[in-house]
């Protein structure tokens, strides 16, 4: 069923009787050509592009809970392509271009909204780094602008320009950055994939992998064995757990990242603001809530909940940057499990096991990457060669000393 304004009106006048389920609820078949493990944004996008762009095939997405229940449903909805390093920027810019045509492509309004993102800087060294980054972005085909203090003030006059401990000196801006309605991304891809025959199987936990002489034959699940020619794993925070079924250890730790939303407020903040002197970034949703976040809690966790110190750290950053939010109320906090890699950048690669492919290590940059991640992972699964924008996302980069370390923090996941 195709969605449209006309359809909405027609249904409204006929009591909404005609709406069909957004996706089917099929029972798993005995075998598929491709099994995607993980019904999150990346897994669903992979299935969608695999079916739409690459080939007609029997494809299933296996989700242990309900689709979109992972990080795609618990993030701060920011999209941007303001990366520094050659290994990353082409990929994220590819993702940004996919965002820009996404809704018409999958016929679902995910509210892709390019209201601009600014990263504030507070020292000369930060300004120099922003200049280096902005130039790298433009050379990779992205947009970037360096704003001075007054330009920042004209955008956001309520920031603390008066008595700030770390005065605002300017910002790096990407006007094409913005936010996307996160749940809608999962649902849109799920619906689009389902329309193209992909079986989306919920409440189906992968409990093992059947591997014989170096080749994957399928997966053991809570709903029985399901055969597959190729298995692609895209399970973010559960990566280590799932890949352990294949006997693999990963360059990865799982950490909790908390995010927060305030009560609904009349429009205050148009775009996305990232503080350069504290752990705080914020945007305002179309519903009116201030959506904000900060740093990860910093210890390995699968608990999907965090602790107070980070909550307070984020609020301190927010109050220092924009003291006008003092009387806004924090409504809800939640935690997502981040697949924090050893250099802060993802891995999209084959494994040593034939037919087994891996996609993970997104740290807390996974949401903005969703479309490109799905596309390039589908490309890898279908063609067995990496997509041109993802050639650096290899397992062996650590052995070779080719880390993609945007923050320059080295082999410590909780610092990325």
């Amino acid at each position: 069923m195709r969605y449209s304004g006309f359809k909405v009106i027609a249904e409204a006048l006929t009591g909404h009787k005609g709406w069909k389920p957004a996706w089917r609820d099929p029972a798993p078949q005995a075998a598929y050509d491709y099994i995607i493990v993980g019904g999150g944004g990346h897994g669903l996008a992979t299935a969608y592009y695999l079916a739409k762009e690459f080939q007609q095939a029997r494809i299933a997405v296996l989700e242990k809970g309900w689709i979109g229940g992972g990080n795609v449903g618990r993030n701060t909805t920011i999209v941007r392509s303001n990366y520094l390093l050659d290994g990353n920027e082409p990929f994220y810019e590819f993702s940004m271009k996919l965002w820009e045509g996404l809704e018409q492509d999958f016929n679902y309004n995910a509210m892709v909204s390019q209201r601009g993102i600014i990263n504030l800087f507070h020292t000369d060294a930060q300004r120099d780094a922003a200049t280096r980054r902005g130039n790298a972005m433009i050379m990779h085909g992205a947009d970037a602008e360096l704003l001075n203090k007054e330009q920042v003030r004209s955008l956001y006059p309520f920031l603390n320009f008066e008595n700030a401990r770390f005065p605002i000196k300017g910002a790096l801006m990407q006007r094409r950055g913005g936010t996307v309605r996160h749940d809608a991304v999962a649902w849109g891809y799920a619906r689009g994939a389902d329309n193209r025959g992909v079986d989306i199987i919920q409440n189906c936990d992968v409990t093992g992998m059947r591997i014989e002489n170096g080749r994957v034959l399928g997966v053991e699940t809570s709903r029985g064995f399901i055969g597959a020619k190729k298995v692609g794993v895209a399970v973010a925070g559960s990566s280590s757990r799932v890949m352990a079924h294949a006997g693999m250890r990963l360059p990865m730790e799982s950490h909790v990242l908390q995010a927060f939303v305030s009560e609904g407020l009349k429009p205050l903040i148009d775009g996305v603001i990232t503080y350069g002197a504290g752990h705080f970034y914020v945007s305002q949703s179309d519903k009116g809530g201030l959506v904000f976040g900060g740093d990860i809690d910093g210890y390995n966790s699968y608990a999907q909940r965090g602790n107070l110190p980070v909550v307070e750290d984020v609020a301190e950053g927010g109050m220092s940057l924009m003291p006008m939010i003092g009387r806004a109320r924090l409504l809800r906090m939640w935690g997502g499990i981040m697949d924090m890699s050893m250099d802060g950048s993802p891995i999209i690669d084959k494994t040593d096991i034939e037919g087994l492919y891996f996609n993970g290590g997104w740290c807390y940059g996974g949401f903005k990457a969703t479309p490109a991640s799905g596309w390039v992972f589908a490309h890898l699964l279908a063609k067995d060669t990496p997509h041109s924008t993802a050639t650096a996302y290899r397992f062996d980069r650590f052995a070779k000393g080719l880390m993609i370390d945007e923050k320059g923090q080295g082999a410590q996941p909780n610092l990325h």
């Binding site: 559960s238 280590s240 757990r241 250890r249 990963l250 360059p251 990865m252 730790e253 799982s254 910093g298 210890y299 390995n300 966790s301 699968y302 608990a303 602790n307 110190p309 050893m342 650590f398 052995a399 082999a411 410590q412 996941p413 909780n414």
Partner: protein
């Protein structure tokens, strides 16, 4: 979280800095044959279990002891806290 420091008793985890898997204790010998092959997994690969995890915490806002904390990563329950120096010695580290 609360870390029950072997010498100081219960302390808020906020006083500590987290490093990671206590397997880092077993640093390979850089002068040995094939050191590179050993350093790569040592530096980059982790078990990352959902469950009991032995991990290194540093009491930066305290007595500057490094501790080995055994903590469940799904419940955050802490079942053991030891001085990292004692653990390292017990596990064969010396000079």
């Amino acid at each position: 979280m609360i870390i029950n420091h072997p010498l100081l008793g219960p302390r808020d985890a906020q006083e500590f800095i987290y490093l990671g898997d206590a397997a880092l204790i077993h640093r390979p010998d850089g002068m040995a044959e094939g050191a590179l092959e050993r350093f790569i997994p040592y530096t980059y690969l982790r078990d990352n279990p959902a469950g009991s995890h032995r991990e290194l915490w540093y009491h930066e806002q305290g007595d500057r002891s490094w501790l080995v904390v055994t903590r469940n990563t799904t419940t955050h329950e802490i079942t053991a806290v030891e001085m990292a120096r004692d653990v390292a010695r017990k596990e064969g580290r010396s000079k």
